[in-house]
């Protein structure tokens, strides 16, 4: 009887979990050689921006929620959040998270996330949200929160959703 290779015994999702955990473990200890900011960005490097665009367009394609992520330039908004719009302290952990995601996909799928098709991307991101070890859940929730802040904070998306409170019309001062 031929024993199948170990990799074949792992489902894609199980493999992603293991890859993500490995990526998270590596990222925790290797956040010193992060790439320099891409042109026009304060924090995120070119490959991080490309990964974020790919993730964003997978989560938020053009449709009932509003325009597509990349058409709104929302990776720049994430860069703004990480450079002071939300918290500078989050910049390094969030970049570590992107690195973990990139490494996790590469280790488990043998391909870069940005080179996968839309269905494969969505399957992987969906699996990311399944219950698993605490670091994976923290990473998932952090990604979901930051992506949501950027996307649902955009005026066009809020318009598409019908989100407008009269508090938005009250006078406001710069702060």
């Amino acid at each position: 009887m031929v024993t199948p290779p170990r990799a074949a015994l792992l489902s894609r999702r199980r493999a992603l979990t293991l890859g993500l955990m490995a990526g998270i473990a590596v990222s925790v200890y290797a956040t010193t050689d992060l790439e320099p900011p891409a042109p026009g960005m304060k924090v995120l490097g070119a490959s991080e921006r490309a990964l974020l665009d790919a993730v964003g367009d997978t989560l938020f394609p053009a449709g009932a929620l509003g325009p597509a992520w990349s058409s709104l330039g929302l990776s720049e908004e994430v860069d703004r959040l990480l450079s002071g719009g939300l918290s500078e302290k989050m910049a390094t952990p969030f970049r570590g998270l992107l690195r973990a995601l990139g490494m996790g996909v590469a280790l488990s799928q043998g391909a870069r996330f940005v080179n996968l098709g839309p269905a494969e991307r969505l399957e992987l991101l969906s699996a990311f949200g399944e219950v698993g070890p605490l670091p994976k859940r923290l990473a998932h929730d952090a990604l979901k929160s930051v992506m949501a802040m950027a996307y649902f904070g955009h005026a066009e998306v809020q318009r598409a959703l019908g989100y407008h409170s009269f508090c938005h019309d009250l006078p406001r001062e710069g702060a």
């Binding site: 449709g63 918290s87 969505l122 949501a148 998306v157 407008h164 508090c167 406001r172």
Partner: protein
């Protein structure tokens, strides 16, 4: 800047250094600190209120969740308790007004059974005047039920479902007499309709002419000789970068620590003033999780009172309260995997109502450490939370919901109670629940036994001569209802005790 001056002060006034001497320094300008400052000032003492965050005016609030997290929340909203089974974000406010800047002003008096237990078991409030103090707070905060026309459909549809089921409940009483119903309480009330303590107790304290409120000052140490604290020292915080820029020292005869249930025990430990191992222990959370009901009609949950109606399931260990959050937080709270189903539910936002179950925690164990908060979520609390979520779903179906979604990962879209009971059964693990805590408490608990508590019934830290604590950390146990009124009454009580000893 040298010397005490009554009034409001900010980073721009300090010129890189601040040195003061007053009768009493109150460290923290939240619900407890503000009420304590008022009690001290009306007793005739000079008071410096020291606060890490800024002074705010309503028009400065930007109606943006990232902006609010950065400027109005402790640790920029990233504070969480961690355990092997999951994690629990622990919210706390920052700024003059503290957590009353970001709460919904929900007002409950301390439940009689809880107060009775505190008195009998911990010697709480030996003067027996706490009920009078609760009345004083109630009146000062201007607690009312907001009129039905501004409640909004998010609240009225929940009321409709609860009444159809015959559940006990009612309109939530709130310290927001000028509320216009814009649903923005948790990102800073932009209309000024909410009576956060900067507009009530601190305003009244400032009016005495004996109080200075010093914003942008982060307390880092309490130099002492073993029992007697001589000063509070720390860093001035440049408000835009939120980075240290200069130092300060405040000398006083007495000190009232009101840094909240996370900050107060940490400072006691850092300063070497922890009387025993109970400092930072016994952290209670009121953990809460959400249910979202989708209807055929527009709900527009952001139009109306942010939290206006509740179901009283006190005897079962939880309350159900309606809630409103910004769209990004709504998305985060939906326990669905990334993909078309999540986006379809999100596209129903305008037709979706939002509420949650808040648990009166009994068996969850939390501990505040120097740089972390540990958590062991109790099985009983987990079961109570799931029971609350099921009841919440039942309310929505009774009001005609097409489907409900919860903040339990993997539970999916549920279209009837059979699906709810199957998905939100009592064996669901805590790891699957996206929960939150907005009411930490109990980490410097009151007691009459110095071996079993952190502060005595007057709020004085055991083993010290002149350091009191006045915030939710002095609660002897979990409260079970939204705590702002109880915290303010504790502030009045402990402020008066401190005033009598200056």
């Amino acid at each position: 800047m040298r010397g005490f001056t009554p009034g409001k002060h900010s980073f721009e006034d300090y010129g890189g250094a601040l040195s003061l001497e007053v009768d009493v320094a109150v460290l923290g300008a939240g619900a407890g600190g503000a009420a304590a400052a008022y009690a001290l000032a009306t007793a005739g003492h000079t008071v410096a209120v020291i606060e890490e965050g800024r002074h705010w005016r309503p028009a400065q609030f930007q109606r943006s969740n990232p902006w609010a997290l950065r400027n109005l929340y402790q640790d920029q909203g990233a504070r969480a308790a961690m355990g092997t089974g999951g994690f629990l974000p622990v919210n706390g406010g920052k700024g003059v007004g503290g957590s009353t800047l970001i709460n919904s002003a929900i007002s409950f008096k301390t439940p009689a059974s809880v107060l009775k237990g505190w008195r009998e078991d911990s010697g709480f409030n030996p003067k027996g005047d706490f009920e009078r103090l609760l009345d004083e707070v109630w009146s000062t905060v201007g607690v009312i039920v907001n009129p039905e026309p501004i409640q909004g459909r998010n609240n009225t549809i929940f009321k409709q479902g609860a009444e159809a089921l015959g559940l006990k409940g009612g309109w939530l009483e709130r310290g927001a007499p000028g509320c216009t119903g814009c649903g923005a309480c948790q990102i800073g009330c932009p209309s000024g309709g909410k009576n956060s303590v900067d507009r009530t107790f601190l305003a009244k304290a400032l009016h005495t002419g004996r109080v200075g409120v010093y914003a942008d000052c982060r307390v880092e140490d309490l130099p002492h000789d073993g029992a007697r604290v001589s000063s509070a020292t720390g860093r001035l915080m440049e408000p835009n970068a939120q980075a240290p820029a200069g130092g300060f020292e405040v000398k006083a005869k007495r000190f009232v620590l009101s840094g909240g249930p996370i900050g107060s025990p940490r400072l006691l430990k850092r300063a070497g003033l922890a009387p025993n191992e109970h400092v930072g222990q016994h952290l209670h959370f009121h953990p809460a999780a959400g249910v979202f009901g989708a209807f055929d009609e527009d709900i527009l949950h952001w139009k109306g009172v942010s939290q206006g109606y509740y179901v009283d399931a006190w005897d079962e260990g939880y309350l159900l309260e309606t809630s409103t959050v910004t769209p990004d937080l709504h998305y985060v709270g939906l326990g669905l995997p990334f993909g078309p189903e999540l986006n379809a539910v999100m596209a129903d936002l305008r037709k979706t109502a939002s509420a949650g179950a808040m648990v009166h925690d009994e068996d969850t164990v939390g501990v505040v450490n120097a740089n972390s908060i540990s958590l062991e979520f109790g099985d009983g609390d987990r079961r109570r939370m799931l029971a609350g979520l099921r009841r919440c779903a039942e309310v929505y179906f009774a009001a005609g919901a097409r489907y409900v979604v919860s903040s339990v990962a993997g539970a999916g879209v549920m279209r009837d109670m059979a699906q709810v009971n199957a998905q939100l059964h009592e064996d669901v693990s805590f790891a699957r629940i996206t929960a939150i805590s907005s009411h930490p408490m109990g980490t410097c608990r009151t007691g009459d036994d110095p071996a079993e508590s952190v502060v005595d019934p007057s709020g004085l830290v055991w083993g010290t001569d002149n350091l009191h604590v006045a915030d939710a950390s002095v609660f002897p146990s979990s409260l079970g209802v939204n705590p702002q009124i109880t915290v303010m009454a504790c502030g009045l009580m402990i402020g008066a005790e401190a005033a009598a000893r200056v």
